[in-house]
Homo-oligomer: 444 residues x 2
């Protein structure tokens, strides 16, 4: 009998790992414990499900429990882990369907327990019409509310990625929606002036965006704020997430400044034989070397792959993240990677910054949309530190050029000389990213 790997959590991080471990070590016994009845789903797709462009919950499932079982992964849905005993090498499991608990020993343990919405201490926040959008159970609950009760009004608390996406989803369902943001601008991961532009687009779409507003309590049909009452028959939490790391922390595993599990480059936790992947653990910023918390599906998948390869006896390392993110609202696309000026300066970089206006295609073509690129480089070396882009369709994904440039320590001069692709429907003769690099180069 081979060793037993117990995976806690059946979503991206856990199942990516399980599949890699299975591929590399056919003799490994793999048991996956998942609290809900869903496995390997795209939580990032929930706003699109809520908005109606994804037909049903099942569409968001990449691999069903049965598909995973066919890979000899013993998936047990409806099984919640209540405790981890590191000394005894076992987890305490609760089988919800049968109302029984049991202990399950492990040789290797992978924690992929994900995250849950941050719930500020507000009266009414635990009411049934206040929804997270992290799990498919959340999604099912939300869909049920939206379809059955046909709410006349919605509020999203928080003007970040989830706030934007969910506001558009309610709009698509014809439900008037208000976004309440505590800070002075929405989308705090972008510079404030971009936040203001984003809010302006949201308002043009018909979203009631209120910034600098505190929510004081949540009632059954309205939310009370520092700016008065806002009608809200349904409320979505877009206030960020917190890692589900308490179980592991109680067992003695180290966590970092964000409360997420500390892992090394191979996704090994502070305890031998115990690994972690996905939204429950922190990662490292490639540029700063500092611990960051990036609870994103794409990061979870990458971490899971690395953990699984190592668990299966192979070797892989996770290089960290650059804070890359893209989203859209209406026609406006947004992308960012690396450090903004304030972020770079905060850790001591002396920087130059430039913002340029260009088009997504040759300006003489009807498909050309306005696009803006803001780039930050280290003054002395010209090294690209970060880019923000926003504009019409075709603006966001361009950020990937900057991702590779930042990760490769390229300078703005390297970018200027880069043989990026060009044809009139796809780009001006100088790609907007290069136009930004040229502008910076002339400042250096």
């Amino acid at each position: 009998m081979g060793a037993r790997l117990v995976v806690v959590g059946g979503d991206a991080g856990g199942m990516s790992a399980a599949l890699q471990a299975r591929r590399l070590d056919p003799g490994l016994e793999i048991v996956a414990l998942e609290r809900t009845r869903w496995t390997s789903y795209s939580a990032c797709g929930i706003p699109y499900l809520a908005g109606g462009s994804v037909p049903d919950l099942d569409s968001l499932v990449a691999r069903t429990p049965d598909a995973l079982r066919a890979q000899r992964i013993d998936v047990r849905t409806g099984h919640e882990v209540l405790g981890v005993d590191l000394a005894a090498r076992r987890v305490e499991v609760h089988d919800r369907a049968h109302g029984r608990s049991f202990a399950l020993g492990f040789d290797l343990l992978l924690l992929a327990t994900g995250a849950r919405p941050r719930r500020p201490v507000i009266e009414g926040i635990d009411a049934p019409h206040v929804h997270g959008v992290q799990t498919l159970d959340d999604a099912a609950h939300l869909l049920d509310t939206t379809r059955r009760h046909r709410p006349a009004s919605a509020v999203v608390i928080g003007g970040g990625y989830i706030g934007l996406e969910m506001a558009e989803a309610f709009l698509a369902r014809g439900i008037p929606v208000t976004v309440l943001e505590r800070s002075s601008e929405v989308m705090g991961s972008f510079d404030p002036d971009l936040g203001a532009e984003i809010a302006a687009v949201m308002r043009r779409l018909g979203i009631d965006v209120r910034t600098g507003v505190e929510v004081t309590s949540i009632g059954p049909a309205s939310v009370t704020t520092s700016d008065g009452d806002v009608p809200a028959e349904v409320v979505v939490l877009g206030t960020g997430v917190v890692p589900n790391a308490e179980l592991a922390a109680e067992a003695g595993l180290l966590t970092g400044p964000h409360g997420a599990l500390t892992v090394d480059r191979r996704q090994r936790s502070s305890e031998d034989g115990v690994w972690a992947a996905g939204d429950c653990c922190q990662s490292v910023h490639r540029l700063t070397g500092q611990p960051v918390y990036e609870p994103l599906g794409t990061v979870a998948n990458k971490m899971g792959r690395v953990a699984g390869i190592n668990l299966g006896g192979g070797y892989a390392s996770f290089p960290g993240v650059l804070g890359t993110a893209v989203t859209r609202v209406g026609w406006l696309e947004l992308g960012r990677t690396g450090l903004r000026r304030v972020e770079a300066q905060a850790i001591g970089f002396e920087v130059v910054e430039e913002t340029i206006h260009s088009t997504t295609a040759a300006s003489y073509l009807p498909e050309a949309h306005a696009t803006t690129v803001r780039m930050v480089a280290e003054r002395r070396t010209g090294r690209v530190l970060g880019v923000q882009s926003h504009g019409g369709p075709g603006s966001a994904k361009r950020i990937d050029v900057a991702v590779v440039a930042v990760a490769s320590s390229l300078t703005v001069e390297d970018l200027v000389g880069m043989d990026l692709s060009y044809a009139p429907p796809f780009s001006p003769v100088w790609d907007p990213i290069q136009t930004a690099a040229r502008a910076l180069l002339s400042k250096l």
Copy 2:
């Protein structure tokens, strides 16, 4: 009185250089001699003008002669250079409007004479209804023919980028069009199986694509081929271009294997004080170090910028090209960069190759299009050597990630760990480029 820079050619390469030189050296006298009446235009836009999505010739002009004159560049249109005397440091100029010739001395000379369509030795190829699409004069001529004579049929000789773009332009004008390609597949810069897919899409659009066909003569209303006669009241040459380098070669400047001017990294020709930029000169392939000829607008602009900075007393170097190209036909987008398998093997690389099928967005969204990525890496090192991509909207520009990766000598493993942007409307959770890198990694 400062030194005099004479620029021969008023398009991308020449005018980019002139503007940079002016910026850096306000005392430089700059005379630009342009044969036609146009300056700084996008020849790449001509197919879109021909197809009607660009309203007029002037839309393709980035900077008019007057705009350049406002920058103190003495632009003389309708002026053709007939000879270069390197020893005497002067050019022989013909002023077309006044029918006179004169000698013009220079301290510095920049040759930016561009390229012209390759004209195979075929009876009738010089007839007035046989068009190149390299200059705005060509474009004016073609537009005039198309609009005034309303041709009932068109032929494009050559199934490369121009062939695809011009075939679609005729289609947009409601003119039945045939593309005649000598090789067994269209788009020879892609692998043959991709060429076959491209041809299939073209045929579905209604373009008559014939491969393995030789043109034997061109008559006033038809083209005679090895496959019989094809109606053609208008003919476009898509058979590639040849550099306008004869003048320089006669003067004693060195040319390379493609007949284009040899330049160093700073765009200096083989003669002191004489520089070159754009379609008249060759460049270096960044991966192979070999001379290549890449007559593309984006390359011309980059070379011009480098030449101009150096001419103005600054320092810049051109790093070479990777053979990057993108285009589209109907819904199909195509991109390529670096080396294909056959190209890599031809210069001695031992390679692995993989082709993957993915989607441009999360597969559960209606905006997800099928996309295919073929990646080649060096077997021993895992270094990415080249990528071809094709598929629905969103497929082509992804190639830029590969451009930066290849230029930075990244490995497939580097790409797998890259923090590329992800949100469901923009990408699957693993970007298709990363899915290809993963597939290759598992083969290494």
